[in-house]
C-alpha cells in the first residue's frame, strides 16, 4: 500500500510557480502549486526537471522548506550557484506563472515528524538548513512541545535564510531553541557564535537540551557534515541516531 502510494506520488507532474521571494543575497524561495495532491513529510525533497528545446534535460534535487501542515504549496529555497545550470535558471529566468516539472516526495530517512518526538538536535550549514526549517515549521504548526534545538551556521548575518522567522520562533520559548554561528563576521547578538562549528560548540548545544537527543539531523556541505557528525560521536551520541544529508561536495 505504501509502495503503491509512493509510486503514484513519485510520477513527474507539472507545478506552477505561484510566488518568488528573495530570502538572502544568494537564496530565493520559489513557491510551487503541484497539479496533483502532494503529501510529504518534513525533511523530504523533490526532483526538478528542466527541458531545453533540443531535448536536453537537467535534473536536480531540492529540499522542501515548507511544512506539510500549512498550505498546498511547496516552498523550495534555491541557492544560486554561479557555475550551476538549474539554480541559475531559477534565479535568472523563472517567473511567476511558469510551469515546471517536478516529482516527489523523495527520501524516507532524513525525515522527522512530531510523532517521532524529541529531544532533537538539528545542525545545518548554509542552505543545508532548508529541510531542518521544514521540521521546525512543522513542529510549530502542530503546537508540539518536543524539545528541538537548531544549530545553524552561515557566513554572515545577512546570509542566514529564514533568520527572522527562526528568531521569532525561538522567542516563544516553548521548547524550540536556536543557536547561530557566523563564520565570516562577528554575531550582532549575544549567545551566538562567530566561528566554524567545532566540538566545543557541539558540546555546548548538547548541554542545552534537557536530555540527550533521541535523533540528530545534520545537513550541509560534506566537510561541514563530517565535522558535525564526528563531533557528535566524540560527545557520546550514538552513530545510529545521527542522520545526515550531504550536498555531495
Amino acid at each position: 500500500m505504501q509502495d503503491e502510494l509512493l509510486a503514484v506520488q513519485a510520477k513527474w507532474q507539472k507545478a506552477n510557480i505561484i510566488g518568488i521571494v528573495r530570502q538572502t543575497p544568494r537564496v530565493t524561495s520559489f513557491f510551487f502549486k503541484p497539479a496533483l495532491p502532494f503529501f510529504y513529510r518534513p525533511g523530504q525533497h523533490v526532483d526538478v526537471r528542466l527541458s531545453a528545446p533540443d531535448g536536453y534535460q537537467a535534473q536536480r534535487s531540492y529540499s522542501i522548506a515548507s511544512a506539510p501542515d500549512s498550505s498546498e504549496t511547496i516552498e523550495l529555497a534555491i541557492e544560486r550557484l554561479d557555475d550551476g545550470e538549474v539554480s541559475t535558471f531559477f534565479h535568472d529566468a523563472a517567473e511567476i506563472g511558469d510551469e515546471i516539472e517536478l516529482r516527489g516526495p523523495i527520501g524516507g530517512h532524513f525525515v522527522w515528524t512530531t510523532e517521532d518526538g524529541g529531544p532533537v538536535l538539528l545542525i545545518g550549514g548554509g542552505s543545508g538548513v532548508v529541510p531542518l526549517v521544514s521540521m521546525v515549521r512543522h513542529r510549530a504548526a502542530q503546537g508540539s512541545a518536543a524539545p528541538v534545538l537548531l544549530l545553524y551556521s552561515a557566513r554572515t548575518w545577512d546570509e542566514l535564510i529564514f533568520r527572522d522567522e527562526l528568531l521569532g520562533l525561538a522567542q516563544r520559548a516553548n521548547g524550540f531553541d536556536l543557536s547561530l554561528t557566523l563564520t565570516r563576521e562577528a554575531s550582532p547578538r549575544e549567545n551566538h557564535y562567530a566561528r566554524r562549528i567545532d566540538p566545543a560548540i557541539i558540546e555546548d548545544v548538547l548541554a542545552r537540551l534537557p536530555m540527550p537527543p533521541k535523533l540528530a539531523f545534520v545537513c550541509g556541505a560534506n566537510a561541514f557534515v563530517t565535522t558535525a557528525a564526528d563531533a557528535l560521536i566524540s560527545a557520546g551520541v550514538p552513530a545510529n541516531i545521527i542522520r545526515v544529508e550531504r550536498y555531495g561536495v
Partner: protein
Amino acid sequence: MMTRGFTGRGQPSEIKDRIPPGQSLTDDFPVLSAGPTPRVRTEDWSFTLKIGPKPAFTWNWDEFNALPQTKLTRDIHCVTAWSKLDTHWQGVLVDDILAEANLEAPTDFVLAHGYDGYTTNVPVKDLVGGKAMIATSYDGKPLPPDHGGPARLLVPHLYFWKSAKWINGLQFTTRDEPGFWELRGYHIYGDPWREQRYTGD
C-alpha cells in the same frame, strides 16, 4: 514538456552516449551517505560471505588483499543525477571471491552489508562475470573513508547507491530482499539507462 527560458549547457557530443538520461557530468566526486562516516581500521576489518544467516567464509584484511587483484576503469552514475566518467578502481572481483571460497552462487540474489548497517540488494547475475568487485583502491590510492574505505562494493552499471560503502559482507538470499534505500522508495534494481530511480520507474 519544454521549460520556458531554459537552454541548458547540454553535454559535449563526444560523450553524449555515455551519459544516461537525466544525468549531468561532474568532475568532482560528490560524497553521499545516510549517516556518519564510520572509521574502520584495516586491522579490525573483515569480509564475510553468508548463505542466508550462515557465515560461509571470512577473510581478514591481509587475507583479502592476497586475493587476485583486478583494475577496472568505469563510468559511474549516482541517482542524485551526477555521472562521472573513467573512474579508476582496484580490488577483488566477486568472481575471484567466490572461486577462493570454492562456492557456486547458491541463490540468485545478494544483500550487501556495510559497517554502518547499510544494506542494498543486487542480483547475482549483476555481480559475476567481471561486472563487480570489492574495491579497496580509487585512483591509485587506498579508498578514503568518505568514499567507503577501507572497502566498498563496486557495481558500476547500476546507480551508485548499489555500490555499498564500508562493506563487510555479501549475503546470499533466496528472495530479492529490498535494502536500505529500496525500502525507502528507491528502485529495486536501479538501471541508470532505464532511469530506474524510484519505485514504479
